[in-house]
Symmetry: C2
Subunit: 407 residues, 2 copies
Amino acid sequence: MVQPPKHILNGFRVLDMTHVLAGPTATRLMVEMGAEVIKIELPPIGDVGRSLPAMKNGRSAYYVQQNRGKKSVCLDAKREDGKTVLRDLIKKSDVFVENFSPGAIGRLGFPWETVHELNPQIVMCSLSALGQTGTLSALPGYDYIAQAYTGIMGVTGDPDGAPAFPVAGIGDVAAGTHAAAAIGYALLHRERGGQGQYIDISLADAYMGAHELNLQIYSVSNGEIEPTRSGKHHYAVCPLGLFRGKEHWLCIIALQPQWPNICRAIGRPELIDDPRYDINEKRVAASTEVIEIVQSWLDEMPSDEVSLGRLEAERVPCAPVLRISEVVMHPHMLERGIVRTVSDPKIGDIVIPGMPLRFSDFEHNAPLESAYLGEHNTQVLDNVLGYSTEQIDELSERGVLQANPDT
Amino acid sequence: MVQPPKHILNGFRVLDMTHVLAGPTATRLMVEMGAEVIKIELPPIGDVGRSLPAMKNGRSAYYVQQNRGKKSVCLDAKREDGKTVLRDLIKKSDVFVENFSPGAIGRLGFPWETVHELNPQIVMCSLSALGQTGTLSALPGYDYIAQAYTGIMGVTGDPDGAPAFPVAGIGDVAAGTHAAAAIGYALLHRERGGQGQYIDISLADAYMGAHELNLQIYSVSNGEIEPTRSGKHHYAVCPLGLFRGKEHWLCIIALQPQWPNICRAIGRPELIDDPRYDINEKRVAASTEVIEIVQSWLDEMPSDEVSLGRLEAERVPCAPVLRISEVVMHPHMLERGIVRTVSDPKIGDIVIPGMPLRFSDFEHNAPLESAYLGEHNTQVLDNVLGYSTEQIDELSERGVLQANPDT
């Protein structure tokens, strides 16, 4: 266990009853900002993230990525003597985060009212797919469920075929970030004399915010314009979309101010003022032609490097659609530490995403290690709660505290 | 202009030199949490978001969605007498947010060093597509550019065809949320005796975090497993994907614990222990068969309502892939205020996404109105800076301050 870095949240204690992705993302950001995060995991297996790939030497790299620097207490919070320990921890913590299904934390005996009564200063945050309230809240939910219900999935992919979804946890991570943000402001409120409060964060709320114009354009047009998925090319801007390069699909964007630039880049300056294409509306109407003009230029280029170089020289926004193998070794990503290698005592080196919040007064990308299940049972109950060795041993013997050093 | 709501950030002043989406998202969250947000817009047109659709009566609903509650000062910050006003505002503000291209704010004369010198307590945050540093930082960037470079676009869509991208601002909004989070913690630090500091947020950093396992699984497998896009069905979990319903595409997910549930829901309980399908690995290997089993059941159902009802009754995670017209009228979304109608004096009613941060001690979804370009020139220079009427009039006459009530 490496100590939390010297950072903004030094002195704050976070009680973390989260699993898999959305919740752990929130507390991951907090531990990287110096909080003491105590992760409470339920026996026998703890966070189900401990069984997600990649697995090596009994350890999950998935778990490592999300839980570095967090202390692990494996506590049977379903038993009365386990609940006592949890109550004591709530009294000693600044923040309590959970992402069970809505209602489950209440059935466990720790709804907000109880938590608030135990510790009026604590900030509690629940994360869920669809929210703590509302007709859909009782349904089991995952990232893609929220993506489907919010219409985000429906505006992704081929208009004549199926929608598409990313093989990535965009909504979970967005919800985790929203939670970390809300918790930060709730702590600021507390610091200025306020009490603790309850925060309800959902993937659906987070996804919905990404509709920069889909809802308003539908409503202002009285339903005449209903945005939907647009395939390889954007329905309202041209050229904006995916073109076949020599080694990659290439994303190329020319909004109105960049039309002259792309014409110069592809060696067709005469098109800048061509009355067939001079404004975006005309280009959208003639999109088949415009796309073909760009594509045929690309087809004659010797490599993506040359094509992208010419576009970049004219400051046309463009990018290769990178494969994962290219992302993990991209110089920019490595230089920025967006892609970073961490060392795990069981797995060895693992490449993971870096810390997305960068502060000038603190170091970026803290060196932290992940805990095995229950690694900090004794340390936490001793140091934080002041339990005696006898008490802790008895809780272990009774199975209230458990541990598994092989995880 | 409606007053900022009684909320956490009352008493904090945010100087907002942002445009379009990522930056305005950050300050949107802050104004909904009660901050006084002063948006500095450059003449003659201000935030280019003021020209984005839907337009009605000269007003952009796009702008309204992102900028409700913000004061507008239209200031020519490229002129020396405009810079003087900006310097005075920096001295009087708690936060300074900008999302020009990296380096532009420095060329304008307001790099972090200068801002910090003017006001050591101010928190400054820059947002960009690819970050303030690194080899790619100088490139012009938009959301899809960051999506392509981070590999998120590459893991979305049909594996045999082109990648797909959402017609939505997922990366911009994620970066805005990351920025709001970081600013909150920097304010907490300041409240506890620290100084202001500089924050560098990028869409690429935000997108990269969504790779829950793509980077680590590639590295731990020594490059043997390279996740890529997976089409309608997930490559590693079965069934998990998109099925043809009667009225919608349906997203249906059965992880290992839900396999018995889905077998019961589709009336095939004998499959629960069928040795061909009993564990996920076998189902992935036989995914064509498993998908067909689910699809053929759906084909016999009379409606999505019935199919989804049966799945929900067995607690199988499932959702219809909704269209925008369905999202805006969904009872759950309306009940939660995730989808809300706001009133604009020029456009009338507009449906926009609700506030994604919900605090128990404060009202959700503040009623706020958007400003025309330069609406608060006089109010801000008078109340905040104490300029005399003569000074303000002179700045207006010289064109340092401008306004356009028709926006």
